[in-house]
């Protein structure tokens, strides 16, 4: 009877772990429930063992204890021995008995963590990736991300882990690992806002829960948990020694913020040049030296002041005459000067991804038209290249590289069309639709890569809705509704 209760408690514990990871709204009550179950479990085990010993059945007691240890110990061994020592094979085998994770995905994820700890040696990478299913899914992406981190490519790891949000069903285990890694990465970079913004996206884990409290405190958010609650979260989180040091050494955020603000306020501000042409030349140099959307927009605005001034052309023609140019050469030279400035403004606007300037005439219209043409040309070249690769059967990449390419294409497209708004995207979207639509179909039909194909289709569907392309919405909506087959 008691044995049956223990087995039931173990199953309930595993189910609660997964439920807690799947829904962050139930994180606190489920954590409390887990604590009660685990406490009761340990007490029951000890009572049972002592009872059996007292009844004179030491062998049965030991067998039972060994059986229970077999169910409890794997996770502890993984966390305290296999991962810290970088033993990927041991981690993989132990994880098969760890009730915290799915037996299909958990071993690979844990083995990748161990291999990353050891610096992702090539034999370990081959061993782990050789055990991944041929169809890339959320767990596969996380495994590659962890191995990329182990090999020193933190940016690739971050990008791959963030990309889980593009999948329809990345899997709880993959999300838990990604959630914790991204939270720690954000904390390391001091990107506290990013950490708080991730609350809506990522599942809570004990460590993320602690970091979210720290982030809310650092940002001075009104509903930030107090010191007592933070320490309570610390108590529940793993890696006590490491996090203790950070919490003890945490500087006062508010004073840092104030100091930064004061320093920014006190910084000497250069007086703006009074001459409009000099101000425009200065803005152009400033934007070229440190490109940013704000600086590029400021340069365009400054040159509008100069070149759109009705007095500018007559003054330049008069100056050309004074320099000895005949009227025809003067008109041509002044036009070339204006075109030269506009070409530089176009270059800056595209490079800095600045919003395309509004206006139907003059400098704004010329810069907008030039930037628009440059952006569309760039996208078209990229999509043509992708189309050619997909059409060529020998052009297939490893699946993780196909996924990386999708992320690059998606991010490049969104960054390119954002400055021009929906008007520009309406022109750009059909190119994306053709190239990526074919790609998604090839991945689904030819390579049976349903997760990746579905993610591409979902993205195309979202963009089609954005630009109001009814035919594409219907087409991708139909494909998006397809059920991803079981492995």
């Amino acid at each position: 009877m008691r044995g049956f209760a223990l087995a039931l408690a173990l199953r309930a514990r595993a189910a609660l772990w997964r439920a807690r990871a799947a829904d962050r709204r139930r994180f606190v009550p489920l954590t409390l429930l887990l604590a009660i179950i685990e406490g009761g479990f340990i007490a029951s085990v000890l009572t049972l063992a002592v009872t059996l010993l007292l009844l004179g059945a030491p062998i049965v007691a030991l067998v039972l204890l060994a059986l229970i240890a077999w169910l409890v110990v794997p996770h502890w061994l993984i966390e305290t021995l296999a991962i810290p020592c970088g033993w990927h094979r041991a981690a993989w085998h132990l994880a098969r008995f760890d009730p915290r994770g799915d037996a299909q995905t958990w071993p690979s994820l844990v083995a990748a963590r161990a291999a990353a700890r050891a610096g992702a040696p090539s034999d370990a990478v081959a061993w782990i990736t050789g055990r991944l299913p041929a169809r890339l899914d959320g767990a596969g992406i996380v495994v590659h991300a962890l191995l990329a981190h182990g090999a020193g490519d933190r940016a690739d790891a971050r990008r791959l882990l963030h990309s889980l949000t593009a999948l329809q069903a990345p899997g709880v285990d993959a999300q838990v690992i990604a959630s914790e890694w991204l939270a720690l990465d954000a904390a390391e970079r001091g990107a506290w806002r990013e950490l708080v913004d991730g609350i809506a996206t990522w599942p809570a884990t004990p460590l993320r829960y602690l970091l979210e409290a720290v982030a809310a405190d650092r940002l001075g958010l009104p509903r930030a948990p107090g010191a007592a609650l933070r320490w309570l979260r610390w108590l529940v989180a793993p890696a006590h020694r490491a996090t203790w040091r950070y919490l003890r050494a945490a500087p006062s955020t508010r004073s840092t913020t104030t100091a930064t603000t004061d320093a920014a306020t006190a910084a000497p501000v250069e007086p703006a040049p009074t001459d409009a042409r000099v101000a425009a030349a200065t803005a152009l140099v400033a934007a070229a030296q440190a490109p940013s959307p704000e600086r590029a927009a400021a340069a365009v605005a400054a040159w509008r002041e100069v070149l759109d001034d009705p007095a500018w052309l007559p003054a330049q023609l008069a100056r050309a005459a004074a320099l000895g140019l005949d009227p025809t050469a003067a008109v041509r030279t002044v036009g070339a000067a204006r075109d030269g400035v506009i070409a530089r403004l176009v270059q800056l606007t595209v490079t800095a991804r600045a919003p395309l300037p509004a206006g139907d005439a003059g400098v704004a219209a010329a810069v907008r038209a030039g930037a628009r043409a440059r952006i569309l040309d760039g996208l078209e070249i990229g999509f043509d290249r992708l189309h050619a690769r997909v059409a060529n059967e020998g052009g297939e990449l490893a699946m993780i590289d196909e996924w990386r390419e999708f992320l690059a294409v998606r991010d490049g497209y969104e960054a390119a069309v954002t400055p021009g708004g929906v008007e520009l995207e309406r022109v750009a979207y059909p190119h994306a639709d053709t190239a990526l639509g074919e790609w998604a179909v090839a991945l689904w039909n030819r390579r049976r890569q349903h997760h990746v194909s579905h993610a591409i289709t979902s993205w195309l569907f979202a963009r089609a809705r954005e630009v109001g392309d009814a035919a594409a919405v219907e087409h991708h909506g139909r494909n998006r509704a397809l059920t991803i087959p079981d492995a």
Partner: protein, 106 residues
């Protein structure tokens, strides 16, 4: 832009006459040849830049041509601007947090 600003290279005003430009170019070439004075650098919007005899000759030739001079006049005279603020996050983070909590390479 300022790198190619021939007025800055020669250290003359945008309103300088051809005669003034020629005189300044000759003076600079002589100073550079003898290595005297502070002719080896000139101020620009991007900070002090090295001035070479070739750059001086190229700038003088550019300003001798009325067409090129008109183009140069349009974008000349840019002034230095302060670098943009780099601080993005309000507070520093937890250095080495991933490694210390058991993630990534030791």
């Amino acid at each position: 832009m300022t790198d190619d600003d021939p007025f800055a290279v020669l250290g003359v005003a945008v309103t300088a006459t051809t005669r003034e430009i020629e005189r300044e170019a000759q003076k600079l070439l002589a100073m550079l040849a003898l290595g005297v004075g502070d002719a080896g650098t000139y101020p620009s919007a991007a900070g002090p830049r090295p001035r070479t005899a070739d750059a001086v000759r190229a700038a003088a030739a550019q300003l001798r041509d009325p067409r090129q001079r008109l183009l140069a006049e349009l974008t000349a005279g840019a002034q230095p601007t302060p670098p943009p603020p780099t601080a993005v996050e309000p507070a520093r983070g937890w250095p080495d947090a991933l490694r210390r909590t058991g993630w990534g390479p030791r």
